[in-house]
């Protein structure tokens, strides 16, 4: 494995336009923040397993906007059934990108199921995603960026990344701050009076 997770996320979020981003708890949320904290990021600090379906709710509520879920392999494994739910709903504006280091990074780098060969992209494909790919190099990341920003979803990518300990870059923690800044940036000031 040669890809570094921070490089992958930075490439996906460069010139992000009006992209809406949900980040699963742990390293994926820190990666997202390292690429630049943004009001249209919703970094999760809990609810492990819920990142993909949170992206689904957002994609259904905002069909004219692109939605990207960035999460880890451990987080995705905890919500594996949600891939089937997304495959049934088939939101064209949703992408799910799993940064797969084959480890539970926050708890001591223990091996996840993907270290033993579980193929998340194959599961997504079999669940009805429009496309599901395995990415191992920067050329693949470049194609992935196009798919996330322009392609017809639902799109899934499993990106194999180096298992590494890197500095924490933390977004705001308070849930209401994250929610309100997101809604205000997306829906306008009136959202705070809804």
């Amino acid at each position: 494995m040669t890809l570094h997770r921070r490089d992958v996320v930075k490439a996906l979020l460069a010139e992000r336009g009006d992209l809406l981003v949900v980040a699963g708890l742990g390293s994926s949320a820190w990666d997202c923040t390292a690429a630049g904290d943004h009001p249209l990021n919703f970094p999760m600090w809990g609810a492990m397993g819920c990142a993909a379906v949170t992206g689904l709710g957002l994609a259904l509520a905002q069909p004219a906007r692109r939605v990207l879920v960035l999460t880890g392999d451990g987080e995705m494994l905890m919500g594996l059934g949600s891939l089937a739910t997304l495959g049934v709903q088939r939101p064209q504006n949703l992408s799910v990108v799993v940064l797969d280091n084959e480890r539970y990074g926050e708890t001591g780098m223990q091996a996840t199921h993907t270290a033993h060969g579980v193929d998340l992209a194959a599961i997504a494909k079999a669940s009805g995603f429009a496309a599901a790919v395995l990415v191992r190099d920067m050329a693949g990341v470049s194609d992935l960026r196009k798919a996330v920003h322009l392609g017809a979803g639902p799109f899934f990518a499993q990106v194999k990344v180096v298992a590494e300990k890197i500095p924490l870059v933390l977004p705001p923690r308070e849930g209401t701050v994250l929610k309100n800044r997101f809604r205000e940036a997306l829906l306008g000031k009136s959202a705070l009076l809804q």
């Binding site: 809406l20 949900v22 919703f42 999760m44 600090w45 809990g46 609810a47 492990m48 397993g49 819920c50 990142a51 993909a52 379906v53 949170t54 992206g55 689904l56 709710g57 957002l58 994609a59 259904l60 509520a61 905002q62 906007r65 919500g79 059934g81 949600s82 089937a84 739910t85 049934v88 709903q89 308070e174 849930g175 209401t176 994250l178 929610k179 997101f182 809604r183 997306l186 829906l187 959202a191 809804q194």
Partner: protein, 181 residues
């Protein structure tokens, strides 16, 4: 007396009317006998997006994401499903997401399946422990009024509120009743 209690009230229809009037645009559900008619009414409503889920926990993410995008969500589940959403409810509490839960009860009024009883008896306590406001609807005529009140509390108070619809309303009292639905 295994048949449902006779009722002049179509609680599912009245509940659908409340949800429609209050503008609930996303309806997440795990298929359930007690909610069968309400699910069908929501599926037939062009202004509601129904989402069938593989587990109730998905509904918490669904509702959070939908609210970030400006849409209101109601989740339909059986009491056993409440056990599946406990940790995820922490997100709703921390982020103060308005959330309406309509829970058809098992494991209480006349239950025939002993495996349903533990979760059914713990449902209200578990919800309250996670900060969800709980209302009980014991008769069909009360359901829609409770749904209206709970929805207003959820939306007005940026909170989660649940209506527990008694097994007395649902009327399932034997495997034969369940199979004939």
């Amino acid at each position: 007396m295994n048949a449902p209690l006779p009722t002049a009230v179509d609680w599912s229809l009245a509940t659908h009317q409340v949800l429609s009037r209050l503008g609930f645009g996303v309806v997440g559900f795990v298929p359930d006998g007690g909610h069968k008619r309400l699910i069908e009414l929501c599926q037939a409503d062009a202004r509601m997006r129904t989402v069938v889920m593989s587990t109730e926990e998905e509904g918490i993410g669904l509702a959070t994401g939908a609210w970030l995008g400006g849409a209101k969500t109601v989740l339909l589940m059986q009491s056993s499903g409440v056990g599946n959403i406990v940790n995820a409810l922490g997100m709703v509490s921390e982020c103060r997401i308005p959330l309406l839960l309509l829970v058809t009860m098992r494991g209480e009024y006349g239950e025939f399946n002993p495996w349903q009883v533990p979760m059914g008896q713990a449902t209200a306590e578990v919800l309250r422990a996670m900060g969800v406001v709980v209302q009980h609807a014991g008769i069909a005529a009360d359901v829609a009024e409770h749904v209206d009140a709970a929805a207003r509390l959820a939306l007005g108070g940026y909170s989660a509120a649940a209506v527990l619809i008694s097994q007395r309303v649902i009327g399932i009292k034997s495997f034969q009743d369940q199979a004939s639905q």
